[in-house]
């Protein structure tokens, strides 16, 4: 192959490596981290990361139906959500639907934002007994125990799991809107036009949620 046929800055070795990365991400069962790939292939980490970024950019194009996304700090390949209607017609084994009730989602949100958090702390926010919902979330492996809190009674603390990030398509917890943004959403949902003592433009909160 002549140099002219290559994209600028991509040598044949690099091209081959990217193709291999794509294949590995396709075959892996769980999102692989750049560190795992780097270790497994014995390729420097920064090179792997650069390749992954390039692959993600490429797959994000409208021309492609499959994309590589960052989920739970690793990389995962999946069909794009916008094609779900068409894809669904051809999927034979539909995954068992796991739908969480709003109380369960709310409890999960409290754990995600306040972790490590105890059941009494969850109940203080929700104003309702939450033991049952917590055990549902534990069973679903969306949350797990995180040691005991050093207060009277030594209550168990809980945190979210890697499964939580995977099931909700999050790269890491920082991808969630901040508590401040949630508060603005909440206040405007409760009909408060001017957030008290808050100079931030409401557009900010919405943009950040997107």
């Amino acid at each position: 192959m002549s140099a002219q046929q290559q994209l600028p800055g991509i040598d044949p070795g690099e091209k081959r490596r990217r193709a291999l990365l794509e294949a590995i991400i396709y075959a892996a069962e769980e999102p692989l981290t750049a560190a795992q790939i780097s270790k497994g292939l014995d390729v420097p980490l920064d090179q792997v990361e650069a390749d992954l970024r390039a692959l993600m950019e490429e797959s994000a194009s409208d021309k492609r139906g499959i994309e590589i996304r960052k989920v739970a700090k690793g990389y995962k390949m999946s069909t794009k959500a916008e094609h779900h209607d068409g894809v669904r017609k051809f999927v034979k084994t539909l995954r068992p639907k796991f739908r969480l009730s709003l109380p369960a989602l709310e409890t999960l949100a409290v754990v995600a934002y306040k972790q490590p958090v105890t059941i009494p702390e969850i109940q203080a926010v929700r104003g309702v007994n939450s033991t049952g919902v917590v055990s549902t979330l534990l069973n679903r492996k969306l949350i797990t125990t995180a040691g005991r809190k050093a207060v009277i009674g030594r209550p168990m603390q809980y945190r979210t799991t890697k499964d939580f990030l995977i099931q909700f398509g999050l790269s890491d917890l920082t991808e969630l809107p901040t508590l401040k943004e949630l508060e603005e959403l909440g206040r405007s949902a409760l009909g408060e036009v001017e957030p008290a003592g808050n100079t931030q433009e409401p557009e900010h909160a919405e943009a950040a949620v997107e």
């Binding site: 084994t93 949100a109 104003g127 797990t144 959403l185």
Partner: protein, 286 residues
């Protein structure tokens, strides 16, 4: 994403059928067809009352809200719905705030330091609403995830995952152990008094078992093979010790699935150092 912020407060269908948009309310119906929205907790109920009337959260008309709140409680009682203590507690809180609002403010406290008796409640409501919003946000994220597909899983792809989270957690372990204990309770025990079961001996036992069975055994199988409760407990403790020393790993193929004990790659190294096992034996006073 504008509509997300707006959707919750904008749904207002008048009448008792108003389904609190964000609290996914269920309705109860008695023999006479009287309907009543159900709320998960008092905060959900209050937020629904506030939304319905487009009240500014920082200026709640406490008297009328208390009235409506109590009215809801009365209707629930008529329908024989047990709302639980937290609803009653909130009613008391509302009445308390209402009575404090009636008192003249303390003339000795400067005006800017006067606290609105509603402040604490407003804070709690906003805190709660934050997580109602967060729940909606998570629901949407989950919906997107549900509509993507990854390629079907190959069963025997090498174990790339070394992180503990996809491995078995303490809760799974305890759950399995509880089940085994439950079954053990229901079957005749042939335990011999003074039987010599030590944690150290059970470690040796598990080691030999793993060596003879190709490096992997099912956890419940191992438990089932124990002759009595003492042996069960010692085996359980031995297993925990082996996990701690990184001699074995516990794996679960799928959620609620069978737990398998497997040799860790450190298995041979760990068993090469016998001193650590003497230390274990000493710890258990064996």
């Amino acid at each position: 994403m504008n509509d997300r912020a707006a959707s919750a407060p904008d749904i207002e269908i008048p009448g008792p059928e108003t389904a609190a948009a964000s609290s996914e309310s269920v309705q109860s119906e008695n023999a006479f067809g009287v309907r009543l929205d159900q709320f998960e907790g008092p905060l959900d109920l209050l937020l629904s009352l506030i939304r319905r009337q487009k009240i500014n959260i920082s200026d709640i008309p406490i008297a009328s809200i208390t009235e409506q709140y109590l009215d809801y409680l009365r209707r629930a009682e008529e329908l024989n719905i047990d709302l639980g203590g937290e609803f009653v507690f909130m009613a008391a809180t509302l009445i308390h705030i209402k009575s404090r609002m009636l008192l003249p403010s303390d003339p000795l406290v400067p005006e800017e330091e006067q606290q609105d008796p509603r402040d604490d409640l407003v804070k709690r409501l906003i805190e709660h609403e934050k997580f109602v919003q967060a729940a909606q946000m998570l629901r949407e994220k989950r919906l997107v995830e549900e509509n993507t597909w990854t390629r079907p899983v190959f069963e025997d792809f090498p174990d790339v995952d070394e992180e503990p989270e996809s491995a078995v957690g303490v809760i799974d372990l305890v759950r399995t152990f509880e089940k085994v204990l439950e079954r053990a309770r229901n079957r005749p025990s042939y335990e011999v008094e003074g039987e010599d079961v030590t944690v150290a001996s059970r470690i040796q036992y598990l080691k030999n078992l793993l060596l003879s069975e190709d490096g992997a055994v099912s956890l419940s199988d191992v438990f089932e093979r124990q002759p009595g409760r003492r042996a069960l407990l010692a085996t359980f403790l031995a297993l925990l010790e082996l996990v701690r020393m990184s001699a074995v790993v516990l794996r679960q193929k799928k959620l609620f699935g069978e737990i398998v004990i497997r040799k860790h790659k450190m298995f041979d190294t760990v068993f090469a150092h016998e001193e650590s096992f003497y230390a274990v034996a000493r710890e258990y006073g064996e």
